[in-house]
């Protein structure tokens, strides 16, 4: 079958029905695999969906741009999802009454170190500026990270993949890393998980305890406020 030569096919792949069906089906398949793997962090539904979609695009010879256009609706919803972050933030802020400033300081330090070390390590290993600025915002929640990467001259798709990989890395390593550092407080555990691993990290913290998850959600929200300011400032200084 020569699907590529058919004008009808070329029109179809640009309509939302193609992109949305493919994406939602792949994502649900990803969730199913995750359930089969009992929620293992490595079986990330977004990664599985990305591979399935990329495979389908490759087989059907669909250009990425056409697929991207047909799924604009999903990408658009990242905006409202970013703003909705205010809600878990406001609901969990009661946990830090009176210690807000000091906890905010810990997060700001983490965010600053994350951005600077990300840029520094990429450049030190011979990476390009675009890769460095895709790395810089990766600790923040993915919808914001994509947006910031775009603003500062990074590569949004690489940034999305890095943000998810960072979250998975946090989920896999945090218990080992923090017990090595002698840190046992569940609030610290959750907060660090949410700061460095955003949504995936916070979800991992929630699996430990409710309080840990609340601190994870808080860190994700705070980081959504802090990291954009930090990365934009760095990009402003280093054009």
């Amino acid at each position: 079958m020569t699907v590529n030569e058919s004008a009808g096919w070329n029109e179809l792949i640009r309509t939302p029905v193609f992109g949305l069906t493919l994406t939602i089906a792949s994502y649900l398949a990803g969730r199913m695999v995750q359930r089969i793997c009992r929620g293992n962090s490595l079986a990330n539904p977004v990664f599985i969906a990305m591979l399935l979609v990329a495979g389908c695009l490759h087989i059907t010879g669909t250009p990425y741009q056409a697929y991207y256009e047909s799924t604009q609706l999903l990408t658009f919803l990242l905006g409202p999802a970013t703003i909705a972050l205010a809600i878990p933030l406001i609901k969990n802020i009661q946990h830090v009454k009176g210690r807000l400033a000091r906890i905010f300081l810990a997060l700001t330090a983490g965010s600053l170190v994350s951005a600077l070390s990300g840029i520094g390590l990429v450049l030190a290993c011979g990476g390009s500026r675009a890769v460095a600025f895709s790395m810089a915002p990766k600790a923040v929640t993915t919808p914001i990270a994509i947006n910031i990467a775009q603003t500062v001259g990074g590569i949004p798709s690489l940034c999305a993949a890095l943000a998810i990989s960072g979250g998975i890395l946090v989920a896999i390593s945090i218990k080992w890393v923090l017990s090595w550092a002698g840190i046992t407080d569940v609030r610290t555990f959750g907060f660090a998980a949410g700061m460095a691993g955003s949504g995936i990290g916070a979800a991992h913290a929630l699996a430990f305890s409710e309080l840990s998850g609340a601190f994870g959600a808080l860190a994700v929200g705070f980081n959504g406020l802090v990291t954009p300011l930090i990365v934009l400032t760095i990009a402003h200084i280093w054009r």
């Binding site: 994406t23 939602i24 994502y27 969906a49 979609v53 990329a54 990425y64 697929y67 990408t75 990242l78 905006g79 409202p80 999802a81 970013t82 703003i83 909705a84 972050l85 205010a86 809600i87 406001i90 609901k91 906890i103 300081l105 330090a109 170190v113 994350s114 070390s117 390590l121 990429v122 290993c125 990476g127 790395m135 990766k138 914001i144 994509i146 947006n147 910031i148 590569i155 949004p156 798709s157 690489l158 999305a160 993949a161 890095l162 960072g166 946090v170 218990k175 923090l178 840190i183 046992t184 407080d185 569940v186 609030r187 700061m195 691993g197 430990f208 406020l225 954009p228 934009l232 402003h236």
Partner: protein
């Protein structure tokens, strides 16, 4: 109703981004504004707003699949720069994890009942 509030704040954010030339992306400005608004008027945290945000968070992963697929469409980049990408990812994630965790307990005193034990 919930989505209308979110879109309204996004619209204000985009307007401030475009017209007032605030360099932050529109949705991030909208996040700041909604947070300030909810601190000022806690009762505005209505049930529709909460249920809409729950739905968005439940499906958050789905929303960035299209953006993420681009990285596979861009395999040459991964092939040519995998070393800086891998070192930067692992290095900066672990360093920031440690820095944040290290600054936290000194800042807030841990309580007995908050200590991790018998966790999965």
């Amino acid at each position: 109703m919930g989505i209308l509030i979110l879109l309204g704040f996004q619209l204000i954010g985009e307007i401030l981004h475009q017209i007032a030339r605030i360099p932050l992306p529109g949705p991030v400005i909208g996040l700041f504004l909604l947070l300030l608004f909810l601190l000022w008027r806690p009762r505005a945290l209505s049930e529709p707003l909460q249920s809409t945000s729950r739905v968005l968070f439940d499906w958050l992963g789905l929303l960035f699949v299209p953006a993420g697929v681009g990285v596979i469409a861009n395999l040459d980049l991964l092939r040519s720069q995998w070393v800086p990408i891998l070192v930067g990812l692992v290095g900066s994630t672990l360093i920031s994890l440690l820095i944040t965790a290290y600054l936290m307990p000194r800042l807030s005193r841990p309580k007995e009942d908050n200590v991790l034990r018998n966790q999965p």
